[in-house]
Symmetry: C2
Subunit: 237 residues, 2 copies
Amino acid sequence: MIIFYSPDLAETMALPEEESAHCVRVLRMKVGERITVVDGRGNRFLCGITDADPRRVGVDIIQKEYAPDGRGRGITLVVAPTKNIDRIEWLLEKATEMGVARIVLVKCARSERKNVNPDRLRKILISAMKQSLKTELPDLVAFPSFNEFITMQKDWAGRRVMGYCDEKFPRLSFVKEFRPGQDVNILIGPEGDFSPEEVELAVTAGYQPVTFGDTRLRTETAALYAVEAVHILYDLQ
Amino acid sequence: MIIFYSPDLAETMALPEEESAHCVRVLRMKVGERITVVDGRGNRFLCGITDADPRRVGVDIIQKEYAPDGRGRGITLVVAPTKNIDRIEWLLEKATEMGVARIVLVKCARSERKNVNPDRLRKILISAMKQSLKTELPDLVAFPSFNEFITMQKDWAGRRVMGYCDEKFPRLSFVKEFRPGQDVNILIGPEGDFSPEEVELAVTAGYQPVTFGDTRLRTETAALYAVEAVHILYDLQ
C-alpha cells in the first residue's frame, strides 16, 4: 500500500510538492486514481486525484477516518546528535517505526555536532511513518541547547529518566523501573557523556539516572533500546 | 580503552594484518607500549608490543583473563539479507552491541539479494564487539539456502520462533512467549516474506510463528526488536 503525506489536506485539498512529484513523476498516477493520504495527526483519507500536477496534486476526499495508531505511547526521546549524522538519521527512522511521540535533538556541552538540518530529518520521519503504515508523525524539536531544553520541558507530563554513564548518582534499571501507562521523557547523552553541570541540571529537573542493561551501548543504540523497552513493557501487559 | 582483536593470539603472539596497521599506522603505537587484545572467544589479554611491524605487530602476553561477557545469551538470529545491504550491516552492528551468539544470513526464495560479502560483514562484527567492550564475537554463518539452513539447524538447542507476516498460522506474542534461560533461534523473513513452502518447512522444523508488537516493522527492525526483547526479558528478571 502506498501512502502519501499531506499535513493540511483538509484545507489545501492537495499534496505538498515533494509528495506530488513522487505521485506523478515516479508512480505515474493519473486523474481519477485513488490514493491514501495521512496527515500525521491521526487522520487517514481515501482520495481521488483531480489534478495530476507534479508540483501540486489536487485531490477530493472520498472518505475520512480518524485512526490514531497510538504507537507514540507518550514517549519523548531527548538525544544529543552524534558526530556522524547517519547514526541519528538511522535512530529517527527506527524510533518512528517502533513508535515515539516526540523527538528532541539537544545541543550538549560535549556534543561534537553543532548543527542539524531539521528539514532533512523531518523527511526521514515522514518516510518512516508512511513505510510503517502509521497515521501519526512524531514531533521533532531541533536544536535547543541543554539549558533551553530544561526550560522547555518544565510542563511536560510523565516520568523523567536519564541514561548516564558516570556512577556519581545511583542508577536504577530502566526496564524494572518503568510502568506502562505513564508518559516518559528519556534523556540520552552525547558520545562524550553529559557534563557535570548538565547532570546536576537534569537531576534537579527530576531526571532519574537509569541503566539500559549491563552492556556499553552507543548513543543511538541506547536511545533505541529505551524506546523498544517501553514498547516491550506495553506488549507484556 | 582501545581493544585489538586477534583470534589466535596465544599461538601467533601477534596481531592480524589489519589490526597491526591500525595499531602502528593510525595509533602510532611503539615497542613497549601496552595494549588489550581479545580473541572473540571470551579471553582478554594484556600485552606488550615487542615488534611494531605494521603488517604483523608482535606481542608478549603480560596477563591473560578468561572473561566471557555472556551477552550472547544463546540467541541465534536467522535473517534474510535485505536488498539494501546497509540495513543488514546496521543490524549486524546493533545486534552485536546488544549481544547475540550467532547470526545466520539465509537465502530465501523471495530474497532480492543473492550474495553477501562475509569478510566485510565479519569486520563489522569485530568492530562492534570491540566498540562495546565485549570479549565474544558472534558466529557468522553466510549464506546457506533456506533448505540448507533447515538441515543445518537440526541439532541446535533451544526454542524456535519465526517472525511471519501472513495469518495462516496462529501467532503468539514473542515477548509473552519467551522465557529467559533457554536458547532461542529467531527466524526473520525477507522483505517479500517467506514463501509458502518455506513457512511449511519452518513450521515442520518446530518454528512457532510469533509477532513482535502490533506495528509493521522492516526486516532489520523486526530482527533487532527480537534480540532486544530477549535482553529486556533477562534484564527484567
